[in-house]
């Protein structure tokens, strides 16, 4: 016991970062790796054959057993319907084969009811057994009276084939589909336009506001407090507020824009593609510009005032001061603010989801929205993951350019 204390203390660093690392592993790194894995499969949660990641062929013994049970039940009912003794004999003949086939399947694959991986060599003999049942059924219905049960029996029997699960590993197929997918391309365009326009507006307006706020002025505290409010309220709440202000029938901002002649009709704002995208950008600019201004203001306040005095003595104009003193010294703050805002804007979800839902007609669908709909409305997790990964790749490229070529220095070093 005496030795453990000093040992822990000597290596305290490792011990106290561990809990955070474990959380980051479980809730970030592993899910990211899993997403990567999904993207190589045709993985669909609500499809019987695709609800897992099957690198090789698999067999669903639970489904097989269930199917045999149903077949027995249906064949029993069929016996009461059919009148010909010959047909009834055929039915009984098939019924007597079922337990034997089931027995053989169990010895072939095992009795484990979950989905198990399957030796490819066994597929032929499984198909043979399925064929025995199918020909038995054909034999009955070729000569027997047609009955209402016939369709149901064949539907049940088709599950025998479903129990045999092909591999749903499709390699890069999902990514190839993304490249060809018109809807994906459109969502990328929407995301890029949204990001570029909103970040540009936020940056320019934010810089102007920060420079005004930086001047000693009464009510500076008040201005700063108010600036925090749009940032602090939930995006979904802000989106709802703007959905109200923008709506065509009683939204004051929509009506105002119509009066100003910026839009032809107040209903155009949310009901046309370009109108809705502009509305989303306006809402984002409203929510984020104050935050941008605060970030840049903090940067401005670190610039020593005597630099301005010195340049004023040298006869520099205000504009010259801005270009040769403010901008260079503010550059680190600008770059960090732009980097984080660009990344944030690129993954925009809440705002669009609540304000337009991606509408009208999918015209304001960002990549996040499209990926969300693919995963949670269509349960196509494989394809959805491929979409998100491509988005992550673009995000990675953007960060790389910011950090590498624009010389962003990360703090905390």
């Amino acid at each position: 016991m005496k030795k453990i204390g000093p040992f822990i203390d000597l290596h305290l660093g490792y011990f106290i970062v561990m809990p955070a690392i474990i959380f980051i592993m479980i809730f970030s790194i592993i899910p990211i790796a899993e997403s990567l894995q999904y993207s190589f499969f045709d993985f669909q949660l609500n499809s019987q054959q695709k609800s897992g990641l099957y690198f090789t062929e698999h067999y669903n013994m639970g489904l097989f057993n269930e199917t045999i049970e149903y077949l027995e039940y249906y064949l029993d009912s069929e016996k009461t319907v059919q009148s010909s003794a010959e047909i009834i004999e055929k039915i009984e003949n098939l019924e007597s084969k079922l337990p034997i086939l089931q027995e053989e399947m169990h010895s072939l694959i095992g009795t484990n009811e979950s989905i198990v991986s399957l030796d490819v060599a066994k597929i032929d003999s499984i198909r043979e057994k399925n064929l025995v049942i199918m020909t038995g059924l054909d034999d009955i219905y070729q000569f027997g009276e047609s009955s209402q049960l016939q369709e149901d029996i064949y539907a049940v029997a088709s599950e025998l084939e479903t129990a045999l699960i092909p591999s749903n590993f499709i390699g890069l197929e999902n990514f190839k589909t993304v490249v060809k997918d018109e809807r994906a391309r459109h969502s990328l365009v929407v995301t890029v336009i949204f990001t570029a326009v909103s970040v540009a507006f936020e940056f320019i307006l934010g810089l102007v506001l920060a420079m005004i706020m930086n001047k000693a002025m009464r009510g500076q505290g008040l201005i700063r407090t108010f600036s925090l409010i749009p940032w602090a309220i939930p995006t979904s709440v802000a989106a709802l507020i703007w959905a109200y202000l923008f709506n065509g029938s009683n939204g004051i901002v929509a009506v105002l824009l119509e009066k100003l002649g910026l839009i032809a009709d107040s209903t155009d704002l949310l009901l046309t593609g370009s109108g809705a995208l502009s509305a989303i950008i306006m809402a984002d600019v409203w929510k984020t510009t104050p935050y941008m201004a605060l970030l840049l203001l903090a940067g401005l306040q670190t610039i020593p005032f005597n630099l301005y005095e010195a340049s004023a003595i040298d006869g520099a104009s205000k504009w010259k001061q801005f270009v040769s003193v403010t901008l260079p010294l503010l550059k680190p703050s600008i770059m960090v603010a732009l980097l984080f805002r660009t990344l944030d804007a690129f993954r925009v979800f809440d705002l669009i989801y609540v304000l337009t839902g991606g509408g009208p007609g999918g015209q304001t669908e960002s990549i996040s929205i499209y990926a969300y709909k693919t995963m949670f409305a269509q349960t196509r997790f494989g394809y959805g993951s491929a979409l998100v990964l491509i988005m992550a790749l673009v995000v990675g490229i953007i960060s790389y350019f910011y950090i590498r070529f624009l010389d962003v220095k990360m703090t905390a070093e």
Binding site: P31, I229, R347
Partner: protein, 273 residues
Amino acid sequence: MKKKTKVLGILMMILYLFIVIFPFIWVFLTSMKPESEIWGDAALRLFANEVTFEHYQALFRGNILNALKNSVVISTITTAYVTILSAFCAYAIARLKFRGKKVLLAVVLATSMFPQMIVVGPIYKAFVQLGWTNSYWITLPYSMITLPVSIFILVTHFSKIPISLEESAMIDGASKMKTFLKIILPLALPGIFTSAIITFIGVWNEFLLSLTLNPNDSWHTATVAITYLRGQFQIFWGQVTAATIVVTIPTLIIVLLFQKQIISGLTSGAVKE
């Protein structure tokens, strides 16, 4: 000339404040209009002819109080454990020697940049398998969005504490753990408080995980619950506006009380010191 620019600046600030505040004021005024005045020409009038609280009453009969309770519980639990985890982690990064520190920092930074959408699929699948959807287990994956920010804020704060304090504690024979708990932690409390507030706001405002992992009405958080107030065929703007006011009030209180801490937390990563 100088006076002109000053006046221009003041005018711009007034316009700015007006634009920032206007949506709240308008929504607040709407929330007190009777249904008949929300539509038609009356919708554009500033004040209601008849002030009413019927929308608030209807709202409180619905799900919103339960949703607010969920938000409070989830945000509090997450803030508590995330702040503790990141305080330890950040101290190690700021002051202690261990191998792989740079890698850890890079990973923390990278995870904060990754789109959240990328982890939602696998986490949703795991939650379904574990039967954890519609529960307070959602607090665990919230670490994904809050830990990196919290760690960064705290690393900055710990780095600012003079190292001589630790050195003299060491000379007195205190262990590193004791130095951290008894000397550094009390000094870093303002920073820890700052990161806790930022974490709390982050969780309170979160939407995507809440939408996917807790889809059941009774487990909705406030941010999700209010979006369900819009019916499929008819929009009750009265209730929607009343709800936005109710949900905004806690945020407003936090901002007004802790604006200094929030600003220092927001800007600590952005300004090189």
